[in-house]
Symmetry: D2
Subunit: 354 residues, 4 copies
């Protein structure tokens, strides 16, 4: 239970951090979509470790191989199986966590729930599991592209540094994926400072989707908002999600929060977009806007208080290679999850009317 997501466009991820391989199976991708390893690799390369000085130096190749479901350059409607082999996995540094639980990590809860766990590199609870999300998300994005839907994300805030300008082209030009080059520079420095301190910092990512037509979302339980909430809070280290004005709505008045309608060249639009592109759980035709908070990396190279398997109080010093902030690498993961939600709702919406 639990490693699949989606109704029609449905993924099932598998694999552990230091096992022989990780992968994902996509069941329900429509046939006829142009697809190749290059298309998927493009998104994976944006996710991978070792890409810059602000991320972990671990050299994962993350290379995707398509094992099924694609024939002569097109999806066939059969399950698409994607795999990557783990190459550079050094488990020895993780011996200490075989018996001690890392604070902020899932070591203890996996141990209680399952009675055992693959502790190496965090095993199943490692963020390396997000490989399958990004890989399958790339296919979802390709499907969405056939109807011009464009999903992208960026770091909006890192610790207390907030972006103040937006230039989409800047996002991939800097190490922290911030669309404001000035803020980006300050963010990079903040990450380096945290690294220096053997500490870590959190931040906020914004995810947008352009050109989503009105009508996507399946109320009352599988609302667009609800599926975004599900998807985003399944990402490791994410502790909150908001739509449109989000938590700011708490201090707003109704007459200000409501987005009035008007006609724009025969198309229904809203004057503002406080709702973040959805009403009653269904896309309105305006830009989809969501934000997530990413907690500071749990792995910090400082001595922390913990307990061991035998129930003794202990301390632990977690070594290994870790990102001082997860945010930059979480950007493509968040994009992928948004794309998976939208791809599923796009297909479900085909059954909305006779």
């Amino acid at each position: 239970m639990g490693s699949s997501f989606g109704n029609i466009f449905r993924i099932n991820t598998w694999g552990e951090s230091h096992g022989p391989a990780l992968g994902v199976v996509i069941d329900g991708c429509p046939a006829g979509l142009p697809m190749s390893e290059e298309i998927i690799q493009h998104d994976l390369d944006r996710r991978r470790v070792g890409q810059s000085k602000v991320t972990s130096p671990r050299q994962e190749r993350d290379r995707v191989t398509i094992l099924s479901g694609v024939f002569e350059g097109f999806t066939t409607g059969a399950p698409i199986s994607l795999i990557t082999y783990n190459a550079d996995a050094d488990s020895s540094k993780y011996d200490i966590i075989r018996d001690r639980f890392r604070p902020g990590h899932a070591d203890y809860t996996y141990h209680v729930k399952y009675g055992r766990r693959d502790h190496r590199g965090g095993g199943r609870s490692s963020a390396r599991e997000t490989w399958g999300r990004v890989a399958s998300g790339a296919i979802a994005r390709a499907l969405l592209a056939t109807v011009d839907v464009d999903v992208y994300a960026f770091v909006r805030q890192l610790n207390s540094i907030k972006m103040e300008t937006f230039d989409r082209a800047e996002i991939d030009r800097n190490l922290v994926r911030c669309p404001d080059p000035v803020a980006a520079q300050a963010m990079v420095e903040a990450v380096m400072a945290a690294k220096e301190d053997n500490d870590s910092i959190g931040g906020i990512i914004e995810i947008r989707a352009d050109n989503v037509p009105p009508g996507w979302g399946e109320p009352t339980m599988d609302k667009l908002d609800a599926l975004i909430g599900h998807a985003m809070l399944s990402i490791p280290a994410v502790k909150g999600v908001e739509i449109g004005m989000g938590f700011e709505a708490a201090t707003m008045h109704g007459k200000d929060h409501n987005d009035g309608f008007y006609m724009d060249n025969g198309r229904v639009r809203t004057i503002s977009n406080n709702a973040g592109g959805m009403l009653g759980g269904i896309s309105s035709g305006e830009q989809i806007v969501a934000r997530i908070v990413v907690k500071p990396t749990s792995s910090v190279s400082q001595e922390q208080q913990t307990v061991d398997l035998e129930g003794n109080d202990r301390t632990i010093l977690v070594e290994g290679r870790h990102d001082p902030s997860i945010c930059p690498r979480a950007v493509p993961v968040a994009e992928a999850m948004m794309a998976l939600v939208l791809a599923d709702l796009y297909l479900l919406n085909r059954a909305a009317q006779i």
Copy 2:
């Protein structure tokens, strides 16, 4: 598609605001649970309209009838069907919205998605649909009570007024369901002021669950966090959800956010609970803590800009009886959704080990 929630303990709500009745079917409730209409009605009475001066005066009886699945005072394992009949429904005030879309409501998006809609009272998108959530949530709460799990919620913030003290007993003593009697008084005044202005205000609700044992949650996609996100963002007017420290984590450092472990009389505990009771998507044994933001009520008695079915720019003045703030009535709905998530994960967790 879309009106069911849960894997094993699964609900399916149905009904429109001004149709003959509303209801919910619960499929998958274990047999042997003591159950009666009184148990369910208790929760429904906390939700119902007309209970105070800060809520809408509509006189709904909201009376539940159990139609199946309960025999001689116990659940039988068969689907439980709950119904309430709509009595006091005056649809005439809604004639104006047959052809014009209310800003902030789902009128437009339902129209686009389905090509038609029952406009009366908001039809399917009305918050009246939450009757079924609260009714089924009462059964989930009863199931959870067999293992001592206790779910409750309260208004933490209304517009800019924040609670500063916590006394659980206070929650149901005031009209806004705030556990701080001083803040509660200010909140009541804020609601009345908004009403006076034909306006509405938003706020923040906190939901807690005590005594959840470690082990509940189905990573990597059906994490406890993720299901909470799904459940909460499916509630009308909710625009954000956060777990534990939530969005505050953005500005924290890892060494401060991590909750260290210690032994407490043979039981593993954490020193702090910044994680809100879950790690890696699985309950840790600490208190479950989530918060949601509720937008200001969309129905405000002010003229607003909109369009009509024929694509003309129009204005609309929404009449009818509406709560100036949804927050107080959303409290039992949020409790219900949390209970539904936990009941399902409780049952799923029985399959975690051989």
Copy 3:
């Protein structure tokens, strides 16, 4: 768990034989389908008890009320809730089965599984549950009719009497729903003879669907054949299902069983239809043909060997009103289940290609 069927077009039945009401919720019916109680009642009237001398004299009205999901004559895309109230339920005759298990019935297995049961009239395991199948099946049939798909069934064999001619118009002209009027007459006599003997007889029903376009079915697990198998074997008293030539295929040779293809006015057809209209789990465009075996009614007014709740050997004489053969009344149920399968696959197939 367990009372829902379908992926997109999904039903959830509820209710017990002698409870206050029975019903079904259909979630996922597309909007825009003309719908009324009359359309549904038409199918229900074909199912109901007391319609002839060969069925039970119990006077159920079986009257359907639409509680939601239909507005001004059309489905709205919202869940459709259908209900019927139990009127003529005399539970006293069932007192004996409170403590003793009827052979051939589900009394014992429900007792073991759930630890208790509503014994009255068989409770949840009563064939009265099929009301919801037929009611929702009527909606599925209406949806299929929009694409000219026509589902019908008939009694092919009753005990050892087999039909030898086929005239569809005859099906509803006789009490046993056999398309061969001569065989029908012999079947009626066989039913009456069984009734005279306080015994019961079984038979075989054939279900067909005309005009199903090629392409419906979701291999490899949700093949058209597989969903038919699931649907049919969920009907009370059904003990087997076969497709096309079915069990006769055991003694055939490949060159004879294969249906060769040919072009017929630009359309691909097969010369024969031994496959029953599906290849590789996907409809081929030929007539869908399935057959089910219905066991003889378990309720026979004869003393039978059994045990009681306390684990004592006992005998039991089941009284009450029962059909000497379930077959005639199972015909509309089988039609309904086939329609539910096809409606779901029709909608799912909309996602087969980009």
Copy 4:
């Protein structure tokens, strides 16, 4: 859509006949189950091609590799990913079917549904897909073994030759997997004769499960019978399934078909087992008995009438290596599907009572 099966214990197969690999992901296997490649390979070896003169000479190694979900000899609760690489795949013989549809195969229906297909070796519709069923079924069988449930199957009839004696030990001693050594000899001859004639034959397989405790099955839609129907009819070439007396029940009387209850050393048993071990869709504690019919292999080396992609009438002579009867190799597949059904219902039943 469509390549997954199960609710809690859920599999997702993937892969094409001549792609680089095939596999299956098992999500929801409980932690703590002893597991190894040897355990899985044991079942796979019973399925594999090239094992005898009555099966195809293709040399598949079918070697399983566990990629995830097993750590230090035990399942961890994480998804289990199993893979086998396709080595000996010669696609050139399949060039002819790129443009022409083989009668009895899924070439035409896949083409219509998906607009394209991987034609090589039958692609996704090849029986090679059953590798994942058997591999995951081996894990289901291991889980069932922890509660002493034992699943096995055998060929009961091949063409017109029926078994007359039963000795379980004989099943794996002969090439056709028949528990009657005399009948087995005749069956082998029938297979060889069919091969000689470039033809193929069908047959009947019986599947049994011993020691299934009473209580497994989720009425009213996910009855044990219904899930068996779904599972069995999803196997390639299976055209029918029956439970207990199955189609023979058509000609039986109720008093004979009913299985009377009696006490046997404190345990409730039935005198006969015409019901095949289930009542009302729930296991009764008696032996589970199901039978399936397997059509004669569609690939026969004879010229057959067909059409091509452009809509011209054509003939086709299918070359390649094929089993003259699928039955012997379908035995482990049928066992696997029965095990998958039972494993899922075993886990679901843990939620039947509070």
